[in-house]
Subunit: 415 residues, 2 copies
């Protein structure tokens, strides 16, 4: 069973927004055993959309469109869909009621004709009710192919995929079974890792694929299996996992399917009933922000002090001025003092600190650019390390945050 | 002049990574007047890549491929490209030297055959030297079409686009002129806005398009013009801008081309020589993290206290326990006290605070879910407001951060 995703909108093609919808849809489809053959981003243009639909129909069984369902003139997906299915638009009573309800209870502004017109749908479609917004999802069928149109607003699209599209597809088809297992590794480059596990890779069964996904200081190793016999696939994936794990034990931090590294850290801290705080200079609150993106973070994350000047380091984290003057703000001594004092201030089991020179992006020549010190303190003391994360500000900040989570995870798992 | 972007990699089609490369490439191409006709994401599969190349050649003059240039077995772009151009791979001496240099000075591990093999390129290509990594960019030509292959690692790809691809394209062609102007607006929904400026939209000259880009509490309005006569386009865009601005003056916060709202805030603060700090509860450090993503933030951003528990609010921000008990942690009183105390603590001109209930994503029914109080303090006092940002944790956190920047910008511009 193959799907194709078509995202509609000039804003994607001029680079004004990053298309994150496709990744979400692809992930959800993959979970039920639908492979995505291709993702295509096209303009808000009737002929281009029609062409993409025809090409997708040749490759895929399920076509999911997103975008172009808003109330304004540049939103032409619905009319184009009616044309493609040789259909016309009619008012969907339930959708109109939903729109009236939304306007009365949440928008609290006069309901305009353009909003009411969002209740118009092709007469042949089944409506997928969008409770979070005024643009309904639409499910249409032709020649055994399914075409689904969803709004481009990410949280509306996500709710429709989870609550409507996936359950309907499951009802309709018997899917093959797909299993992915993604090993998160830190500390060894892609090619060194590939050489290290070359024999393992060569001896994989043909229905299991291995992929390397390097990004910002880590490599994700993904095993993917697909087939009819779920039991066989699960058994073989377990065998291969058991073969691979001992070979990468020094660099393995967890499975991506268990969540991001901050999810994994959060899970362990919750289980252990332990807590953490951060004192951030060069990461500027990113570590705190990643911790708190998780629901349930308040169980283990107590807070952070972001100190972006010498004075705030002195005043908020009680770092002695003499220590800063003797070693500079970016030093192992200041990093360790920050972590130790954050531990006291927040009364946590662990504290992470970062101090470094993320630098301006433009100047690639500056001395010490990209140098970051990371320290972790707990009741037994503090340890720290120096890293060099290169010459791009974005990269330095993100690599430093990744490394901080990696060091913390190792520390948490020690006992 | 039309381009097509083809991103290669199973990791995109199974939703494991979001393709942010395409948006960057599209933006840079648009700046020089190359429109992107389509973005296509395909599998690590020779036949699929060949098919996408042939289709792209029919639509576009310039085809940019990213991904699949790594040292491992699933990276097949280079061989596929050689096949497409009826070519074979040869060693590029300069690339090999660059690889040896990188390994000697940065990687500091033994150089392996798979790394040396990255110096192999199609014999007909011009090498685009990748100083930041081992996979070179490649520039090939056939039937007046240009095919460019770039590594998928974002910072390597970005450097090659800026330093090699764009200058080479500029040298080669005379481009039409494209101008985009994007008005950032906050506080009015897409359809209300569309109705409000309907006359303006209807009277636009045909070579200027208007698009609405709504996201998380704001709507971006984009005017796009394209043509041969640069002077005429710039003049007409200015006329339309002058017509539009008075109609949206209450909701307009700046032009996207001047940067994100945090860039605009940062620019004004720098110009005014004023400073800011944050005291964050529900936004968990996101506001600080967005401030500090900008090079030069240390000029105006002093720091943040992220308090994720009642105790830390009391201890770090000196919020009286009685105040919290009387009004609850999520209240106007606590928000205002947080902002006022952060102002004192960091000795800044402005302080922003947030406290709210971002909630768990799963439970959509909880009382008060999505409620956020935001306060801004300065030497004249403090003001605050309550917002309801819905029932998705991610949305609540991001809308709260956007709203905080919006309120701060209005405050900054008052004097």
């Amino acid at each position: 069973m193959l799907a194709e995703i078509i995202t509609i909108g000039d804003e994607i093609l001029i680079g004004q927004i990053v298309d994150s919808n496709s990744a979400f849809i692809a992930k959800q489809l993959n979970k039920i055993g639908v492979s995505v053959y291709q993702i295509t981003s096209v303009q808000d243009d009737k002929n281009h959309i029609l062409k993409a639909l025809a090409e997708a129909e040749a490759n895929a069984d399920i076509i999911i469109l997103t975008g172009g369902l808003g109330p304004t003139k540049d939103d032409i997906t619905k009319k184009t869909l009616a044309h493609y299915f040789d259909d016309h638009l009619v008012e969907a009573v339930a959708v109109r009621k939903n729109i009236e309800h939304l306007w009365e209870h949440y928008i609290k502004r006069p309901l305009m004709q353009v909003n009411i017109d969002q209740a118009l749908v092709p007469s042949k479609c089944s409506v997928l009710m969008n409770k979070l917004g005024s643009a309904p999802g639409m499910w249409m069928e032709k020649n055994d192919k399914i075409v689904i149109a969803l709004p481009g607003v990410p949280y509306e699209m996500k709710a429709l995929i989870d609550d409507e599209v996936i359950p309907k597809l499951r009802n309709r088809y018997q899917f093959p079974y797909i299993q992915h297992k993604t090993f998160l590794t830190y500390g060894l480059g892609e090619s060194a890792l590939a050489e290290h596990i070359e024999t393992f890779e060569n001896e994989l069964p043909t229905f299991i694929k291995l992929a390397y996904l390097p990004s910002l200081g880590r490599v994700r190793l993904r095993l993917s299996a697909k087939g009819i016999n779920r039991e066989l696939i699960e058994k073989e994936m377990q065998i291969q996992t058991d073969l691979l794990l001992p070979q990468i034990k020094d660099i393995f931090t967890g499975f991506e399917e268990d969540g991001s590294i901050e999810d994994i850290v959060g899970k362990h801290l919750t289980e252990q009933g332990r807590t953490v705080a951060t004192a951030e200079s060069c990461t500027g609150g990113l570590i705190a922000s990643r911790f708190t993106a998780n629901a349930g973070a308040s169980k283990y994350f107590k807070g952070s002090v972001v100190t972006y000047s010498k004075e705030t380091k002195m005043q908020l984290l009680n770092i002695p001025e003499a220590l800063i003057d003797a070693h500079s703000v970016v030093s192992i001594e200041v990093a360790e003092a920050m972590a130790l004092n954050a531990l006291k201030l927040f009364k946590t089991d662990f504290a992470i600190s970062t101090t470094g020179n993320a630098g301006p992006t433009k100047d690639h020549t500056q001395e010490g650019l990209g140098d970051v010190y990371i320290a972790i303190a707990n009741k037994d003391g503090v340890f720290s390390a120096k890293f060099s994360f290169g010459n791009s500000r974005e990269k330095v900040i993100n690599k430093a945050a990744n490394k901080a989570f990696e060091l913390l995870l190792k520390e948490i798992l020690k006992k």
